[in-house]
């Protein structure tokens, strides 16, 4: 860092050791300082601390002791850990598969301009305003086998043992996060659908294309960037899901819904094995990063191709 940067009076950066024309017209380096400080303080520093801790054994009371690769070796031999990674991926995939089509349809529908749509979509966005914890407590009560809906609708729920079997417990988790997060993704698609130039539809109409064809040949391709944005949010959100599991299933029955993020919590705050928990945390960061990179690469999002090309 021998380069010196100075702030010109209008807030633009001027490089003293290079052609000053390059810096002109771009936001100065100083603009990034607040964000960089926050990122460093609240993301990088903890990440480094967690990385160090993953090589130590610590119960939170006495001083951490260096434990070498112990935590990592134990983790890779742990059947619950491997199962939890699979469950995390499964929940994420199910979430994306259920929420994406639903929110595209709702978003495109909500992008219309009629008054009743505005009112309906306003009501529809309410779940987004509630906290995940409140939503989970609500659904836990609604789905109580003896006091809730299943006790009335036995033809649908049978004995109501939704939280006591793996398949239904996962079903409830997917359902509750869909209920909570579809509005957010709908909002993304609504915005994107409104940005589609009307001339495309007018041209299609002249060519005799119906609503369905218009949807598949104009709307969907135009939503490409929105789909990728929304999917990355879903993938990262899915892999780090925690609160719904904590409140709805506690990872049960047995370890059947113990996803990695919850397993990390159990290790840290139930078993007081902070070293093991840190190793899981790091593993999650790694897996999330890889999956996000794959999504970005496969979708061509990194090239930032505009949907407006050719217009």
């Amino acid at each position: 860092m021998t380069r010196t940067a100075a702030l010109s009076p209008d807030g633009q950066k001027v490089r003293k050791d290079g052609p000053s024309a390059i810096g002109a017209g771009r936001p100065g380096f100083l603009w990034a300082v607040p964000a960089a400080v926050f990122f460093g303080l609240f993301a990088l520093v903890p990440l480094i601390m967690v990385a160090v801790l993953s090589f130590a054994s610590w119960d939170g009371l006495s001083d951490p002791e260096f434990a070498g690769l112990d935590n990592w070796r134990k983790l890779l031999d742990d059947p619950v850990m491997i199962k939890s990674l699979w469950l995390s991926v499964l929940l994420t995939v199910l979430g994306v598969a259920v929420q994406t089509p639903l929110s595209i349809l709702l978003g495109v529908w909500a992008a219309g301009h009629q008054r009743n749509r505005a009112v309906l979509s306003a009501i529809y966005f309410v779940p987004m305003l509630l906290s995940v914890a409140a939503v989970s407590v609500l659904w836990r009560a609604v789905l109580d086998p003896n006091m809730g809906v299943p006790a009335q609708a036995t033809w649908l729920f049978g004995d109501g043992n939704l939280f006591g079997k793996q398949a239904t417990a996962i079903g409830v988790l997917v359902f509750v996060s869909t209920w909570q997060f579809t509005p957010l993704h709908t909002l993304i698609y609504q915005g994107a659908a409104r940005a589609v130039p009307q001339v495309l539809y007018q041209a299609a109409q002249i060519d005799g294309a119906g609503t369905v064809r218009q949807f598949f040949h104009i709307t969907l391709p135009q939503l490409r960037n929105a789909i990728i944005t929304s999917m990355i949010l879903m993938v990262v959100g899915g892999l780090t899901t925690f609160d719904t599991v904590l409140i709805l299933t506690q990872g049960g029955p047995g370890s059947d819904t113990t996803i990695s993020a919850y397993y990390m919590y159990q290790k840290a705050f139930k078993s007081f094995d902070y070293g093991g928990a840190s190793a899981i945390a790091l593993l999650l960061v790694l897996v999330s990063t890889i999956i996000s990179l794959i999504v970005v690469r496969l979708s061509g999002y990194d090239k930032m191709r505009s949907t407006m090309e050719g217009l």
């Binding site: 400080v37 009371l61 939280f163």
Partner: protein, 433 residues
């Protein structure tokens, strides 16, 4: 004009960020200052808190240092405690289960030895039953004063439901199986179980292992003898559990029911279940949520005997008692010592009895008549006094690091997704130290 606006925004944003960072680094100091003249008391949050609130109010009437009560809802108590105990948010005085539950804190040098307090005021020790007082003695030093009461696990019942099905509280295992059959025929769930919480499920294991193998088997396992879990007695206990579950004693949806959200107690109180195996706090829970039921129809009995079992049928499982411990770094050891004296005062022995708790002070017996239900208090008192063995809950006896894996194995064996051999293997794999 435009330039000026831009510049001032940089200053504002940067300044705000700086202010935030400064305030974050400074917040530790601020909370210290606020804590100077208060004695923070941390307790497990449940229906029994009303007595603790009263104790704090009484204490504050005469004390310079004011006590503040913090309650953490049940299931999260242990996790929250261990997370904050070595931080600036640590309480001065806190609720615990004695013995194994405070051992890690003692080992880390966080707790204040209470012997100097006792030397000054011998009543802090002399006013409590010695067997109970001693379960908070670690390595020869006292670290806790009993509070609340002893909590044996009892078989609670709904008298009206039993009467309708022509069932008596069971004395033997066969009685219990017959009762299950009769209640099932009557269209109710024979036994309410909050399997979603898992620790209520554990109680069935604790009692059956005790009745069939005696308390020695668990002690051996806890001492590190892994063969104990594979012994014939252990298998016998497991087959009895299987027998009961397969008979439909708990219905089929128990894993979706919780005790902590009032699920299983409501089943019992509203007549949709006949029995519930629960700690003595079931009484205060029902008294709080269903006072009418607690007064008229809530029945209780000891766990039935099992023919051919090695365990004495008078044995009890549960929590021996709760304790208050004091942190070494408290700024108010004097106030803490004064606060602890209230635990054996006549007034609070009576207040605990009034909500169904059974304090273990030497004067308890004299006040049993003033209890919410004198019969319930006497029943418990005689039961605990006569018990040859009092088995501490497995999840409290084992180190914290074993709890998650233990719960998983218990739940999976109980609901049939894990067989006997797999369960034994899982228990053998638990860390014992």
């Amino acid at each position: 004009m435009k330039q000026r606006a831009r510049f001032s925004r940089t200053v504002v944003v940067g300044g705000a960020a700086l202010a935030l960072v400064l305030s974050l680094s400074g917040c530790g100091g601020a909370s210290d200052a606020a804590g100077d003249d208060t004695l923070r008391v941390l307790v497990y949050g449940d229906a029994a808190n009303k007595v603790e609130k009263e104790i704090v109010a009484t204490f504050n009437k005469t004390s310079e240092v004011k006590a503040v009560l913090d309650t953490i809802p049940g299931a999260d108590y242990q996790a929250k405690l261990q997370t904050i105990i070595n931080s600036k948010q640590a309480p001065d005085v806190f609720f615990n289960w004695g013995g194994g539950s405070i051992k890690p804190f003692v080992d880390a040098g966080l707790l204040l030895p209470l012997d100097p307090f006792i030397a000054e005021n011998p009543d802090l020790k002399a006013k409590f039953l010695p067997s109970v007082f001693n379960s908070a003695v670690v390595d020869g030093t006292s670290y806790g004063v009993p509070m609340r009461g002893t909590q044996p696990v009892l078989l609670f019942s709904n008298g009206e439901v039993l009467k309708k099905a022509g069932v008596e509280p069971p004395k033997t295992w066969d009685d219990l199986l017959a009762a299950v059959k009769a209640l099932k025929a009557d269209g109710v769930t024979p036994i309410a179980l909050g399997g979603g919480d898992r620790w209520p499920t554990l109680m069935w294991f604790e009692y059956l292992y005790d009745r069939i193998a005696g308390p020695e088997l668990f002690q051996k396992a806890l001492d590190g003898d892994r063969d104990a879990w594979a012994s014939p007695d252990s298998r016998k206990a497991l087959s009895r559990i299987r027998e009961l579950v397969d008979a439909g004693a708990f219905g089929t949806n128990y894993d979706s029911v919780k005790f902590t959200d009032q699920g299983s107690p409501t089943l019992l109180a509203t007549g949709r279940a006949g029995f519930e195996l629960m700690g003595s706090w079931e009484y205060s829970t029902q008294q709080d949520a269903h006072p009418e039921f607690a007064r008229s129809d809530l029945g209780y009995s000891a766990f039935p005997s099992v023919e051919g079992g090695k365990g004495d049928q008078a044995n009890v499982v549960g929590n021996t008692n709760n304790f208050y411990s004091v942190l070494k770094k408290t700024k108010h050891p004097r106030a803490a010592a004064e606060f602890l004296k209230l635990m054996y005062s006549d007034r609070f022995v009576k207040a605990q009895l009034a909500i169904g708790n059974l304090p273990t002070t030497t004067n308890t017996e004299g006040f049993l008549d003033t209890a919410a239900s004198p019969e319930f208090a006497k029943f418990q008192y005689d039961m605990v006094k006569a018990a040859p063995a009092f088995q501490l809950s497995w999840d409290q006896a084992y180190p914290q690091s074993a709890a998650t894996a233990m719960y998983q194995a218990l739940q999976q064996f109980f609901n049939g997704s894990m067989d006997e051999d797999a369960f034994i293997e899982a228990m053998q794999a638990l860390p014992t130290s």
